[in-house]
């Protein structure tokens, strides 16, 4: 007869104190994040289940995304290289990296809106750190996005446009993207749990941002006086820290400063919001 004596509870001898007159919100929020990071295995396990469920019964699974991105890159590459009067070999690496980075940003922003509401069943039943759901959302998008890497390699191989040693700078760029993703999944997740009108708004904003940001068109196509305003676009700044090192021999200092400032602001807003409203999330979802 098996019994549970070998398995202990999560916190033996734990003390849970909550005093509404002294809520100690900062400590609670930081504790939530620390515990969430420590239990990252749980987020990873949940994220892999999410991916498996999303592509259940499909033969290619997430590689469908690879195929559709490849078709998009090929189609847009042919069309826009002739519209912009550039050679395909010059334009293709740009559009490939550009589209893949943009699709990743778009997928994360869209998914961020449901990072907490989709975990409603868990949130209302188990006292888990909310950070677990945030990391789960970010990780599943990171894994899905990674399925696009072969396209970038194939395009580099076909056009012979290998980036130089400065390509390593894409790594800090990816780190910035990751921090932004976590902050967004936390902030938008909370906002969308409280206000159910936010996801459609986010969808429209992202669509507009796709055309207003230099995803398909190169920033150099703008007049220099106008191009100077581009770093004000957070999407452009963060995207360029990854794309620049891979296809343009590095991003400008202005772009880096802008991206770091936006990331810090985003993380600050998300943290402030989390500290203030963490205790309300269970009532919102």
């Amino acid at each position: 007869m098996p019994d549970g004596s070998a398995i202990s509870g999560p916190q033996p001898g734990a003390l849970y104190v909550f005093d509404a007159s002294r809520p100690r919100r900062i400590a609670a929020a930081l504790g939530d994040i620390a515990t969430g990071l420590r239990r990252v295995r749980l987020s990873v396990a949940l994220a892999s289940l999410d991916i498996r469920n999303r592509y259940r019964g499909s033969v290619l699974g997430p590689f469908w995304l690879t195929l559709s991105t490849a078709a998009m890159v090929g189609g847009l590459g042919l069309l826009y290289s002739s519209l912009f009067k550039m050679s395909l070999a010059e334009y293709l690496p740009f559009i490939a990296v550009s589209l893949i980075v943009w699709n990743t940003i778009n997928a994360i922003v869209t998914d961020a809106c449901t990072s907490l509401t989709s975990a409603e069943g868990i949130i209302r039943q188990l006292p888990l750190p909310y950070t677990v759901h945030v990391l789960r959302c970010v990780w599943r998008n990171a894994v899905i996005a990674a399925h696009n890497l072969p396209i970038i390699l194939a395009v580099f191989l076909a056009t012979g446009a290998w980036p130089g040693w400065e390509a390593w700078q894409a790594l800090p760029g990816l780190a910035l993207l990751g921090i932004n993703a976590c902050a967004l999944a936390l902030f938008l997740g909370m906002l969308c749990a409280r206000f159910r009108d936010i996801p459609p708004i986010v969808g429209s904003v992202m669509q507009l941002a796709f055309f207003l940001s230099p995803v398909i068109w190169k920033p150099e196509l703008l007049e220099p006086s106008r191009a100077a305003w581009l770093p004000l676009n957070p999407f452009y700044a963060v995207m360029e820290t990854v794309r620049g090192p891979l296809v343009e021999g590095g991003a400008s200092a202005t772009v880096w400063v802008a991206a770091v400032v936006y990331t810090a602001a985003m993380a600050g807003i998300a943290l402030a919001f989390f500290i203030r409203f963490r205790g309300r999330i269970a009532f919102w979802v």
């Binding site: 098996p2 019994d3 549970g4 004596s5 070998a6 398995i7 202990s8 509870g9 999560p10 916190q11 033996p12 001898g13 734990a14 003390l15 849970y16 104190v17 909550f18 005093d19 509404a20 007159s21 809520p23 239990r39 295995r41 749980l42 396990a45 949940l46 289940l49 498996r52 469920n53 259940r56 069943g121 868990i122 949130i123 209302r124 039943q125 188990l126 006292p127 888990l128 409280r194 159910r196 205790g279 309300r280 269970a282 009532f283 919102w284």
Partner: protein, 246 residues
């Protein structure tokens, strides 16, 4: 020492997506008791109002009351899911919650995967969770169905799995909803023995129940909730023997 101290604990559920102002007015007009408007003119349900009680080690407390009296909300609050809007709550000791048997269950994953997931939810390592899977698999008696997705299970099989998963623990403070006492008869005999072992090992039991025979059998103290307030608090005979309960 494990204990639960609650001082004036209050929980209010905001009703956010009610829409039109006229609807608000109608709802407020019809239900002056537990629905009210807070300072931000949101409509809130007072789920728990001003609850104060102390539970010492060794106590077996039953929460009774009508549907909607706040029994499950109180259990969830004690488990740390809901933060009180007012009052102070202190729960010392490792908490084991048997509130919703299917909490965190993924219907597309196999039984074994769900058990490992449950282990991770509890903060165990993957190796410990795999050990857990063996133990739970054996107790649930699911045999070869353990490696089949949970959504293909019959209702009875799902109950066995969730029960076996939820009860593999050794908490000091056991919070239990009466759901866990329902189930198919053949499995319930083994389940009953398991629950009794769990209850006797826990320092504190808080059980929400409608079944007075179970309350009389297992509990030493009864708290009767009515519309989110404590209506009666005393020994089993004091509360259940009182004329109001008849």
């Amino acid at each position: 020492m494990p204990h639960i101290h609650a001082e004036a604990v209050t929980i209010e559920f905001p009703l956010y997506h009610l829409g039109a102002r006229s609807l608000k007015k109608r709802i407020l007009a019809n239900s002056p008791l537990r629905l009210r408007q807070d300072e931000a003119s949101r409509i809130v349900v007072s789920a728990l109002r001003d609850l104060s009680f102390r539970i010492q080690p060794g106590e077996r407390v039953a929460l009774i009351g009508h549907n909607g009296a706040g029994k499950t909300t109180l259990l969830r609050t004690l488990a740390g899911v809901y933060e009180p809007v007012a009052g102070r709550l202190e729960v010392a000791g490792s908490i084991g919650a048997l509130i919703d048997p299917s909490a965190g269950m993924d219907p597309n994953a196999t039984g074994r995967e769900n058990i490992v997931l449950r282990g991770l939810f509890r903060g165990l390592s993957e190796a410990e969770s795999s050990t857990l899977a063996e133990e739970v698999g054996e107790f649930s008696g699911l045999a070869e169905f353990l490696d089949v997705p949970v959504r293909t299970y019959s209702a009875g099989m799902a109950v066995r799995l969730s029960f076996a998963m939820a009860t593999v623990m050794d908490p000091e403070v056991l919070l239990m909803d009466e759901w866990f006492l329902a189930g198919d008869a053949e499995f319930m005999q083994r389940a009953r023995a398991k629950l009794e072992a769990l209850v006797s090992k826990a320092e504190i039991l808080v059980l929400a129940s409608h079944d007075m025979s179970i309350v009389r059998e297992w509990c030493t103290r009864v708290i009767r909730l009515d519309s989110g307030r404590i209506a009666q608090d005393g020994t089993v005979d004091e509360v259940l023997g009182a004329p109001a309960a008849a």
